[in-house]
């Protein structure tokens, strides 16, 4: 890079929350036109650092200089004025407003300063969406009606609606499928070619290799490595910097199939369908078996899980546990029969943000700790502690409110809930979204161990290697129909991607 001052230089940034020092003297330099990747385990402080950069948090100490001049970012607006746009990890769109209104929120095109020019807003939104490769999103639609992937695109359009010089993306690829990720990378390429800098956060190391220029690694609120070359640093080195140890990024071994195949299926789905979401589906899961559903975002996978779980009412078909049919459309019946669901949208569908980790974890198993409605809090806390430890959730104190946990640790809290309940069939929807490399390997091991103990698992993931590595049997879905079923060891990533995109079993 040229020796001119970096576009952005943050130095000695510290930030404490009650009881936690999230950032402990972090330095970060970003050059114009580069993709600077920020890596670190869950809770390392990545999101906190970029919130400081976005003006959403005020640092306790430290300086920020922008194009060689010291600046104070008192508010998100101050950061935006400089040309810093941020796409947050937890989407921050207003569901009841339209796409165009969200994109222009806070800087609406107006006449005479206050009359919003709706048409102009819609037109410029349509143009941005076109640029982002998604002309099919209607700027007039309510954001709440869009899929998660499309909401991500809208966030991106919002960031680009400003005149940006630096754009920060906090795990933008977590909700995207491979196609969308390619599209995202094309956009990133266009931006950097135009001299815009990108700060990119992801737990997927292969993405860092594809688009990253330099890497800064955070660990426990400190930068343990700065400006490493993204393409040539060995993965093992990055991982050991992040975790402070060597992680074998491998999936746990599968048990011998004959034993599993001999068992009676615990979960049977017969002819289950919902109009417009997924075609009639049959599937069986045996105790000890992990069945994976592979498919693109929007191929009906989450809908299938939610229907099995009773959160949606099927149009046809039924769900049986141990051969006994469940009352359709009743979550309570499903839970009583031993089903558990770790849903895709943890914030909206799973977590009680104001409550402690303990209460979030115990909410589905309260009756286990209660006699005549009376809760034995000692037993509850002990069980929550054990579950938290098992998943190495951090901080390991289960009394802290879930709201203060980092994204990946919130995901672990959801899993801990069903670990604690000890259910018989576990439905996992994107279980490792936002979970760091080290914790991922632990999660896989936990899921496999539970399966070995007789749990039946139905797994949905956009990450094909995860489905192939963890599941015993894989169902490939395209547009709501199963196009292929095979044991996981007979498939590879390319084959699955082909099936998912074209749907024609090419052999």
């Amino acid at each position: 890079m040229a020796p001119e001052p970096p576009l952005l230089s943050m130095s000695g940034i510290t930030k404490s929350f009650p009881g936690v020092r999230a950032l402990d003297g972090v330095d970060l330099d970003v050059q114009a036109g580069e993709v600077h990747c920020l890596l670190g385990q869950n809770g390392a402080g990545k999101s906190t650092l970029i919130k400081v950069l976005a003006g959403a948090h005020q640092p306790d100490t430290g300086t920020i200089s922008w194009r060689g001049e010291d600046v104070t970012l008192r508010s998100p607006i101050a950061a935006m004025r400089l040309g810093i746009a941020t796409i947050y990890q937890e989407l921050d769109l207003v569901e009841h407003l339209s796409v165009a209104e969200n994109v222009h929120l806070g800087h609406e095109p107006t006449t005479a300063g206050f009359v919003v020019r709706g048409r102009a807003a819609r037109a410029s939104t349509a143009e941005l969406l076109q640029r982002l490769g998604h002309p099919e999103i209607d700027p007039g639609r309510l954001v709440g009606d869009l899929s998660a992937a499309h909401q991500q695109i809208v966030s991106m359009a919002r960031a680009l609606s400003h005149d940006v010089r630096l754009i920060v993306m906090d795990e933008p690829s977590a909700a995207l499928d491979p196609d969308e990720v390619d599209n995202l990378f094309r956009i990133v390429g266009d931006l950097t070619a135009a001299g815009v800098a990108v700060v990119y956060i992801s737990h997927r190391l292969e993405e860092i290799r594809r688009i990253g220029d330099r890497v800064t690694v955070l660990k426990d609120g400190r930068a343990v490595a700065r400006g490493l070359p993204a393409k040539s640093t060995p993965t093992s080195e990055v991982v050991s910097l992040m975790t402070g140890r060597n992680v074998e990024y491998v999936f746990p071994p599968r048990p011998d199939t004959p034993r599993v195949a001999a068992a009676e299926p615990v979960l049977t789905v017969e002819n289950l369908s919902r109009r417009g979401e997924f075609a009639p589906l049959d599937l069986q899961v045996r105790p000890g078996e992990i069945v994976g559903l592979a498919g693109l975002v929007g191929s009906g996978r989450s809908e299938i899980l939610e229907t099995i779980y009773g959160a949606r009412k099927p149009d046809t078909g039924r769900v049986l546990v141990d051969g006994k049919p469940l009352r359709p459309g009743s979550v309570r019946a499903a839970v009583r029969a031993g089903l558990g669901l770790a849903p895709e949208e943890r914030k909206a569908q799973a977590l009680l943000m104001l409550e402690s980790v303990t209460r979030n974890v115990s909410v589905s198993s309260m009756s286990r700790f209660a006699r005549a409605g009376w809760i034995d809090r000692g037993a509850e806390l002990g069980a929550a502690r054990a579950a938290v430890r098992e998943l190495s959730l951090r901080p390991d104190n289960p009394d802290v409110p879930v709201r203060t946990l980092s994204g990946g640790n919130q995901q672990k809290a959801v899993l801990a809930r069903w670990l604690l309940r000890g259910c018989r069939v576990l439905l996992l929807d994107e279980p490792t979204r936002g979970v760091d490399v080290g914790a991922r390997a632990e999660l896989y091991a936990v899921v496999r161990r539970l399966a070995d103990e007789g749990l039946a698992v139905l797994l949905v993931s956009s990450e094909v290697p995860e489905v192939l590595g963890l599941a015993d049997r894989v169902l490939v879905l395209r547009e709501g129909s199963v196009v292929h079923t095979a044991p996981a060891r007979e498939l590879d990533e390319h084959r699955v991607l082909d099936l998912v995109m074209e749907g024609s079993p090419a052999s």
């Binding site: 936690v20 609120g221 839970v335 209460r359 802290v400």
Partner: protein, 339 residues
């Protein structure tokens, strides 16, 4: 913080994570700040009362009166706190108190004596709560609208029953409860009922599955549903609970006034909501405490009393209450964000 090496995961699980103790203490401290600030306000009020009207305010009879008045609205507020914590609202509490108090004091009911009056009051409260609950939980009505409708109809029915007349209670055993002879160690029985409702309410909220479920429903209804909680049934129970509290309050009011009137419980809904809010209950649901609400009630009742002793008009009282609500919420926001 020094270099914090992440603990080896399999062994030594007891390595404390960064700042475990302080986080724990911060939570405790925050809870305390809220309660302490309310206690502080109450202490200041008592001081003001003692300074402005030393003989009258601190007189035992006056203090007994303040507590007795707080009891009626206090019982209503405990129920209201549960409803608000669960993300709902009950605008009909005052009207239910009125309806229950007149229904329980009709000539026909009074023939059944003490038990007749008590059971009628409680049953009418539960009945109204049931209607609210069914409309909201199973009819999909917005709590604001459903309970607003109940407010109008219950008041109307109360007027129809009494025809606007005061119904005097003739059952001696009921009236005796309000007499000085019935005081236990100087404490009026009504206050004991309020204390009991408070303790039970606290236990239910903090120590039972019912309380947990209420908080969960208020914090994130969709998450509660997917966690296997029957959200609709929980909502029904919560409005039943609020109705039950109104029934108990109506009975207390009958004892206190020695009569039933269709104008009873006027604006109780506002007082109860205000007390819960200054006590720290989030109007959006998901958080709240019984202790805070009860302190809120005591603060309001004390203000009313001090103003009455100083011959200040109700309009001044209302303005002062409004100011206190604003101040309390501002103070809480501060303490919540700085600790």
């Amino acid at each position: 913080m020094t270099q914090n090496v992440s603990p080896p995961r399999d062994s030594a699980p007891k390595v404390p994570s960064a700042g475990e103790q302080p986080a724990w203490r911060a939570v405790l401290f925050r809870a305390d700040v809220r309660t302490l600030s309310l206690l502080g306000v109450l202490a200041v009020l008592i001081l003001i009362g003692g300074l402005t009207k030393p003989d009258q305010f601190l007189d035992t009879r006056n203090l007994q009166l303040v507590l007795t008045q707080a009891s009626v609205i206090g019982v209503v507020t405990v129920g209201m706190t549960f409803v608000i914590i669960s993300g709902g609202i009950d605008l009909s509490v005052g009207a239910i108190v009125a309806l229950a108090s007149v229904w329980a004091t009709t000539v026909a009911t009074q023939e059944y004596g003490f038990a007749g009056i008590l059971f009628t009051a409680v049953l009418v409260g539960l009945g109204c709560g049931l209607v609210n609950g069914v409309l909201i939980a199973y009819g999909g009505m917005v709590p604001f609208i459903a309970t607003l409708a109940m407010l109008a109809s219950a008041r109307g029915l109360a007027l129809q029953i009494t025809d606007g007349r005061t119904q005097i209670v003739t059952v001696d055993s009921v009236l005796d409860l309000g007499e000085r002879d019935a005081y236990v160690l100087g404490i009026p029985p009504l206050v004991l009922v309020f204390a009991a409702v408070t303790v039970v309410g606290w236990l239910v909220l903090n120590r039972t599955t019912f309380g947990r479920r209420s908080v969960a429903v208020g914090g994130n209804a969709e998450a509660a549903r997917l966690a296997g909680i029957d959200v609709r049934r929980q909502r029904l129970y919560l409005y039943l609970l609020s109705g039950l509290c109104c029934g108990i309050a109506a009975f207390l009011l009958i004892v206190l006034a020695g009569s039933g009137q269709n104008t009873n419980g006027n604006l109780y809904e506002l007082d109860a909501i205000a007390a819960a809010i200054i006590g720290g209950t989030l109007l959006t649901g998901g958080r709240g405490t019984i202790v805070g609400s009860v302190l809120g009630v005591l603060i309001f009742t004390t203000i009313t009393n001090i103003f009455a002793l100083n011959n200040l008009q109700t309009d001044v009282q209302q303005i002062a209450k409004g100011a206190i609500i604003v101040a309390a919420v501002l103070v809480q926001r501060r303490t919540a964000s700085t600790t």
